[in-house]
């Protein structure tokens, strides 16, 4: 059974792109450990051969047909920073 340590929280926070404070690291490690230990009750269930349920209706698919989305200007309007019809972010190439 996994035990959630501050190292686990660091790894998961990196995957989730969340910077955490030192206090948050400690607190979330303790809280998630308790929650996951409690969720371990699911391991008493016999799930042999039971298919997973992902959605109440797995047939909810639409035709894959192209259609117009939001006009570019509207889609860009709520952006914190934009230029030349694009979202602007800090430099990612050296």
């Amino acid at each position: 059974m996994p035990r959630i340590t501050e190292d686990t929280i660091d790894a998961v926070a990196r995957l989730a792109r969340l910077s955490l404070t030192r206090e948050e690291r400690t607190r979330f490690a303790r809280e998630l450990e308790a929650i996951v230990a409690w969720a371990d009750s699911l391991h008493t269930l016999d799930t042999e051969g039971v298919p997973p349920l992902r959605h109440a209706d797995d047939d909810a698919l639409r035709e894959d047909a192209p259609r117009d989305g939001l006009p570019r200007e509207l889609a860009l309007e709520p952006a914190p920073d934009q230029a030349e019809g694009l979202f602007r972010v800090p430099r990612i190439l050296p």
């Binding site: 969340l18 699911l42 349920l53 990612i92």
Partner: protein, 487 residues
Amino acid sequence: MTSPLALLSATELRARVARRDVSVEEVVRAHLDRISAVEPKLDAFLVVAPERALGRARRLDSALAGAAPAPPLAGVPIAVKDILHVSGLATTCGSRLLGGYRPPFEATVVTRLEAAGAIVLGKTNMDEFAMGSSTEHSAFKTTRNPWDSDRVPGGSSGGSAAAVAARMVPLALGTDTGGSIRQPAALCGVSGLKPTWGRASRYGLVAFASSLDQVGPLARRVEDLAIAASVICGRDPNDATTASLAVPDFAAALPRGAHGLRIGVPRRFLAQGVEAETLVRFDESLRALASVGATVENVELPHLEYAIPTYYLVATAEASSNLARYDGVRYGARAVDAPDLRRLFGETRQQGFGAEVKRRILLGTFVLSSGYYDAYYLRAQQARTLIRRDFDRAFTRCDAIATPTTPAPAFRFGEKTADPLQMYLADIFTVPANLAGLPALSLPCGLASGLPVGLQLVGRPFEEETLLRAGAAFQSATTHHELAPPL
């Protein structure tokens, strides 16, 4: 002085507008006055939009000046949970991260309600990104329970429930991922319907857990829920998950009553712990259902005891994925002075999200991560199948399943925030319907220790009509829904 108009139901208001007894503008002003009088005590709204509402009211009055027939919600003031986009208004989702976001499109359910004559008065407070059962996780304000200002209104649609209970609006929209319509409805003493998954469009709804999320109405009377449900339900080309099934005129079906309906009660599951007086109110409400012709029998739902861990693994996994989009690039607030993209993401999310949202993103990321996926996420999805099969089996013997909506009445502020598990456990009776994708209705069923509690009815997929018929019959035999909080 509260205008008598503010005490009327949506059905009664619409009838008076249709008869031209009263103008839409008068109806809207009466409710805006009521909001001015009681909102300072409750903080149910994040924004009230009088100009927008009065402008629309006058336009509807002009449209109704001739002999034009009144639409089904003509002149009915509504409140909308601030997770649904309304044209011209910001969406905050109870979060700092969205920072004044103005959506470039509108939620289909809002467009449909306004096309049916409803007038949006404002947007209501909620737990951040709908994550919570008390509205205490809002980044902006604390909404108070109209029955007791020291207690939570429930959540996450706490603002909508408080607004309806306090007679600020007769009808409101909420959303329900694990009980977020039904639980606050119960704790504030109003009625709330979570339709079947796929029944109402989620276009323009900010996603939390997509296999569970559903939009639905809150009102004081079941007939108001029925009218609103007929308006908002149905296929929407902008939401591929909406079902193409025809939507009945729910209100027209209500007179058929509850005679002959078989109500199943999972007695063994209730033994998990229901506060004594809440259980008394529940048993009384079963007798009221029997008095209107329903039969009541026990059913077994053996896997419901696994519903809460199943829910918190599935919902957080989906949330961690859905909330990945908040990165400070395309919308919302952005951390300033981040030197590179990775730190821009990390700092934006660190500053923008509250503790409960971070906790759930971390848990969801953990259960989806390599090495834990099968042990937690996959296993939870298998448990979900077992829960769905329990319901399928029970529904061969009964038409609806009854439980209390919550194990106890509203708790005090701060009572459950220190220990997230305690908050999660209170969702025991509401999460099963979301996991199985079923419709569910909460009805006021009296007071426990002077605070409202709810009766929940869960139905077969797409059989909202059965629940609403039972609910209307229940309200014809009881007066709990007429109780008003002492404001």
